[in-house]
Amino acid sequence: MTALVANLRNAVAALTFVALATSSYPVAAQQPTSVDPTASAVSEQLLLQQFKAIQGRGSIPDTKSYTIEQPAGRDWRHFHEVTLRWIGGAAILGILVVLVIFYLARGMVRIESGRSGHTIVRFNAAERFMHWMTATCFVILALSGLNITFGRPLLLPLMSPEAFTAWSQWAKYAHNYLSFPFTIGVISIFFMWIAGNIPNRLDIEWLRRGGGMVGPDHPPAYRFNAGQKVIYWIVVLGGSAIAVSGYLLIFPFYGTDIQTMQSAEMAHGIIAMLFIAAMLGHIYIGTIGMEGAFEAMGQGTVDINWAKAHHNLWFEEVRTRSEPHLAQQQPAATPGE
């Protein structure tokens, strides 16, 4: 009995469906005959003109994969392959050529009055430790970074691909992990030497006279002259910028997307190349460019005659602090300066 009722119900339902379908047919016939399903379809060209990347909805957990196309990668590639190599090559080779010419023309800048044999402390142990920690990290970071930009055209042809990969892998890890002591070094340098590196009126005079390297004599200076202040601010500002852009790359997708990472890489590369060029100049003056300069950061002490010539006002300060009874005699002792 129940089976019969169920069958009847199905039959009625089927008949109703057929009736509905046939009655609605004339309505469908009144629709336009040619339908263009692409009339409102999204177009790749239009989307690319509107946005930097085409994005949609996906069904896998990786939301990065919802970006279907981002042609900006082509521009970034051009930067990485061409622009950065030109900037780096020009900056680094340029500064090297300038330094060689300068050395041939001027030679090592001597201590004019010779060495006195007496020394005073210029940088204490903590200062030297911070300097050399930052410097060591910088050299390794610079070489491992240059390997990413120039290694493939310059170094890879000289070794097997496996050896180059092994070296690049180590260089990459060194680059990533030494960034931390480097950043600590930059922050320490900022606080350690900020007192002596605020620009003042003396710096204008110093720059006008070309400092002790270019000019004929040493203009008056306190603990740091204008040239050293420039290096200080390059390290502090350049080091900060390079640290920030680098950490964006070391922690991918923390508040960044591909476009911001591309920009961060570009900033990181350009600043790094200019930073390396500036530090080559710094290394030159600190070693073969100037007599008596290296020992300031080497042993921490400088010859009194060097201090008098290069940083006369700082020398007076130190002397006044350590031997107050000499302070009165000083103006009479060096009337010529």
């Binding site: 040619s34 263009d36 399903p37 692409t38 009339a39 409102s40 379809a41 999204v42 177009s43 790749e44 060209q45 989307l47 085409i54 994005q55 949609g56 909805r57 996906g58 069904s59 896998i60 990786d62 990065k64 994969s65 919802y66 970006t67 279907i68 196309e69 981002q70 042609p71 900006a72 990668g73 082509r74 970034w76 590639r77 990485h80 392959e81 390997n147 990413i148 930009t149 290694g151 493939r152 890879l156 691909p161 496996e162 180059f164 990969t165 690049s168 892998q169 990459k172 890890y173 680059h175 990533n176 992990y177 790359l249 070391i250 922690f251 991918p252 997708f253 591909i258 990472m261 890489e265």
Partner: protein, 198 residues
């Protein structure tokens, strides 16, 4: 020699994601990596289209150009492959790729991404064709067996086409001419500097 390409006819894609699944299975792709994915643009709005996207095996591939260790190579068929033994996991190919193809097994803090993985056009890697070493690193090498990538081979609506670029472009053109519309060969202008017009 054929120049292998992919072409996704977005007017036919029904977003079934079978290409994604087939790829994962055929190549034993690790967790978290999808060499192919389907993305729906303008989802739920008039004119929405789904596109199946993977590595497009670009002409003059950007990943190959920016790789600092030269891990990539392009085969005679125009397939862009890479060596996981050479890759250092720096992430540069991922910055350069217009299609988000290169992926890494790990998130990548402190540069610990691991070796890059991407679509191989079911053509394996530098190891001998069909070897176990090749299969473990890159998955199947169907091309060496005379077969096309599985994603395109099993596409139920034949939306995803793989094969010689000229032939699949011709098939697409015929379709567009017959049905009277086509939303274009997605990614072709970016990948191959050309497009398919009917």
């Amino acid at each position: 020699m054929a120049r292998m390409k992919f072409l996704c006819d977005a007017d036919r894609c029904i977003e079934c994601n079978a290409c994604v699944t087939a790829c994962k299975n055929e190549n034993q792709v690790p967790w978290g990596i999808n060499r192919r994915r389907v993305v729906t643009i303008n989802d739920g709005k008039p004119g929405e289209r789904s596109v199946s996207m993977a590595c497009m095996h670009c002409t003059d591939a950007p990943c190959q150009a920016v790789c600092p260790v030269n891990a990539f190579y392009t085969t005679a068929d125009g397939v862009v492959l890479h060596s996981k033994d050479i890759c250092i996991g720096c992430g540069y190919c991922f910055y350069a790729c217009p299609f988000g193809a290169p992926q890494y097994p790990r998130v990548g803090n402190f540069g610990s991404r691991g070796k890059m993985d991407k679509c191989t056009y079911c053509a394996g890697g530098p190891e001998p064709d069909g070897s176990m070493a090749e299969y473990e690193k890159y998955g199947a090498n169907r091309l060496a067996e005379g077969k096309l990538p599985l994603c395109a081979e099993m596409c139920s609506t034949k939306s995803l086409l793989a094969g010689d670029g000229e032939i699949i472009a011709e098939i697409y053109k015929e379709r567009v001419a017959k049905r009277g519309y086509g939303s274009g060969a997605w990614g072709w202008r970016t990948a191959y500097r050309e497009t398919v017009t009917s």
